[in-house]
């Protein structure tokens, strides 16, 4: 199969999933026990107002008609009003999303760089103390929930050593740069504000390490085992016999093909990060979409919850498309396998 038809198939597949996802989220929003109209307007609202609201929200119509109205609005970016902030959910999402994306991208960077480096080191020096240290610590890394890592990091670096801040994205004494992208690091660079940049980075360190830890350990393990497998392959022995320099063999012929499994689980690791952001943002007082989501969930703010889940799903689906395209590019066998489906 050519690369372009692989791409078209993959995108079509995603559209089908997206439609299914919208139905699932709609179903979740309708299984909530109790009367949504009452919940929105409060116990003291007069009955005819509640009835008007019901008609306005099409709550008396059959379920597929309700879905039709809901999806029509959602496609136009109308996700309804948040019962908690009393603003449009889409506006809330726009204002909270950049903080989460900044955190997730930063920790994704930490995860990929350190995970692959540690895994490669571990494979290169297998069965030495380096390898053993990496392997044992990755077991702990995988088994420790992000919120537990967050609490340990807070205790050690923020409270005991007092070298890094505990809360938020920026110190109180520091003026925020004008918001252009919503990403504080980018905004600081654009404004040429060095102090804000340094402070924003300092605030990013702990939450992003907490978020990256599980995926980092996973990536290190997978990189190690796939490199160790490839190390035993005949083609490496042939290359050695041809006196190709070890550095070239290690990077070009060993590391590159060994990264295919690492890249292909990046999507899952990204999902784990989006999930864990819900807890990590709560612990570090990070004003992002995930914390907004948790607050909305605790308050049963149904419009906000559906909006947040929808956005998270769309982000995750897009990441998976990117990962599949990269893997399909790296490994033609994956493209061939798509033909079976």
């Amino acid at each position: 199969m050519s690369f372009s038809s692989f791409l078209i198939r993959r995108l079509f597949h995603s559209v089908v999933i997206l439609i299914g996802l919208s139905m699932l989220i709609f179903a979740i929003s309708r299984i909530m026990p109790g009367d949504p109209a009452r919940l929105a307007l409060g116990a003291r609202a007069p009955e005819e107002v509640v009835q008007q609201w019901r008609e306005w929200m099409h709550l008396d119509d059959p379920i597929h008609i309700q879905y039709y109205y809901w999806i029509k609005d959602a496609l136009q970016g109308k996700l309804g009003q948040s019962l908690w902030t009393r603003r449009d959910v889409s506006i809330d999402i726009k204002s909270f999303l950049p903080a989460t994306m900044e955190l997730v991208l930063f920790s994704g960077l930490i995860m990929a760089v350190f995970g692959i480096t540690l895994g490669a080191l571990s494979a290169r020096y297998s069965n030495t103390w380096i390898d053993n240290t990496v392997r044992v610590s990755t077991y702990f890394g995988v088994a420790t929930p992000a919120f537990v890592v967050a609490i340990f990091l807070l205790l050690i670096f923020a409270y005991a050593l007092q070298v890094l801040p505990t809360m938020g994205r920026l110190g109180q004494s520091i003026a925020a740069p004008p918001s252009r992208t919503g990403f504080l690091v980018l905004d600081s660079i654009l404004a040429g504000n060095g102090t804000a940049l340094a402070d924003a980075l300092r605030h990013l360190i702990l939450p992003s390490i907490a978020l990256a830890m599980g995926g980092l350990a996973q990536e290190a393990r997978i990189t190690r085992s796939s490199m160790a497998d490839n190390l035993l392959k005949d083609y490496i022995a042939v290359e050695r016999s041809q006196r190709i320099p070890p550095r070239v063999i290690n990077f070009k012929y060993l590391l590159k093909p060994s990264l295919i499994p690492t890249v292909s689980i990046l999507g899952l690791d990204f999902a784990a990060m989006l999930s864990n952001a819900f807890l990590v943002e709560l612990i570090f007082g990070w004003p992002g979409l995930s914390r907004y989501g948790v607050e909305a969930m605790v308050r049963k703010d149904i419009n906000a919850v559906t909006g947040v889940v929808l956005v998270m799903g769309v982000i995750f689906i897009s990441v998976n498309i990117i990962v599949d395209i990269v893997v399909g590019y790296l490994d033609p066998r994956i493209r061939l396998r798509m033909e079976d489906h």
Binding site: H13, V16, I17, L18, G20, L21, M23, L24, I25, I28, S29, I31, M32, P33, Y139, F140, V142, A143, T144, P145, F147, V148, I151, F152, L154, L155, Y159, A160, A271, A272, L274, S275, N276, F278, L279, L282, I283, G293, V294, M297, V298, K300, I302, V305, T306, V308, V309, M312, G313, F316, I317, N320
Partner: protein, 300 residues
């Protein structure tokens, strides 16, 4: 070698070969020290949970109990891991917390494995038909949302309690088993033994359950042992947010969350329950990895 020779004599040849297989697997399993560590950790946790009312120093502290005179005590000989802000012994609460964690893991997997496996068998056996398409697209949809996000959303629209948390986690967990069994089934359905059963006129139920299912047992068992850890972790995360085990019952995640407000001065309130979560998750992970090696499973 001597262990093999000294083995008790079993009369029935089938029993004898089964015993030999078990011994061989145990030998393979126990050669990896980490797997043995994992198995021991899991056994310790199960024992602590089962015996919690007997071995806890203060069993009453697991429920509605306050003792403000002894609140916020650091670890000491009276309270080995200290007490929380209302004076309850952390150690006893961790023992009882393990009960809820294991209960969560067991009930979720009991709810999730049968439907996941059956759907996977059906979709894999009729691969390429509309049944396959429908089932596998539905699993794709459930796997298209980050797991905790979906579980949180479902748990939040229901009443916050342990059972709804289990329900929420179960709703998003079955697709993994469906996918796993689907993979195995679609690869063995063209094998000769399946075709032979078809030609002999065996019923579909017989083919699916007696011919194909036994091939899926090893990967399923491995996945179950790995998933116990993940489900417990997810349960802890839900209760951390307040959507799982409800106070005054001791949920490990709830305990960590409660203690987080009193850091760094009363660090022991969160740190010990956090270590307890790590211990049980690590145990199940190591056990699962060991099983994977022994059963030579690659799919999970």
């Amino acid at each position: 070698m001597s262990a093999l020779q000294d083995a008790p004599r079993l009369s029935h040849p089938r029993l004898r070969s089964a015993a030999r297989a078990v011994r061989r697997s145990w030998y393979k399993f126990s050669r990896n020290r980490l797997s043995v560590v994992g198995l021991s950790a899991v056994c310790i946790v199960i024992l602590l949970a089962l015996l919690a009312p007997v071995i806890s120093p203060y069993p009453r502290h697991a429920g509605k109990f306050v003792d403000f005179a002894n609140a916020n005590r650091p670890p000491s000989w009276t309270y080995l891991l200290g007490t929380d802000v209302v004076g309850r012994d952390i150690l006893s609460r961790i023992f009882f917390g393990y009960r809820f964690s294991l209960l969560m893991g067991i009930i979720v997997l009991a709810l999730v494995v049968p439907p996941g496996v059956i759907l996977g068998l059906i979709a894999g056996y009729w691969k390429g038909s509309w049944i396959d398409t429908v089932i596998m697209r539905i699993t794709d949809v459930f796997l298209a949302v980050p797991p905790l996000v979906l579980a949180l959303a479902i748990a939040s629209v229901l009443q916050p309690n342990l059972y709804n948390a289990m329900l929420a986690v179960s709703l998003m967990w079955w697709p993994w088993y469906c996918r796993l069994v689907y993979g195995v089934t679609s690869s063995v359905r063209n094998e000769f033994f399946v075709q032979a059963a078809e030609v002999a006129g065996a019923s579909k139920v017989h083919i699916l359950l007696r011919e194909i299912l036994p091939n899926c047992v090893s990967p399923i068992l491995t996945k179950i042992s790995l998933d116990m850890g993940w489900v417990i972790l997810l349960g802890a995360a839900l209760s951390f947010v307040g959507l799982g085990v409800q106070p005054p019952r001791p949920g490990l995640g709830t305990m960590v969350a409660d203690g987080a407000q009193y850091m760094p001065d009363s660090w022991w309130i969160s740190v010990f329950p956090a270590l307890a979560i790590m211990f049980v998750v690590l145990g199940f992970n190591l056990l699962g990895d060991g099983l994977r090696d022994v059963l030579s499973v690659e799919e999970v």
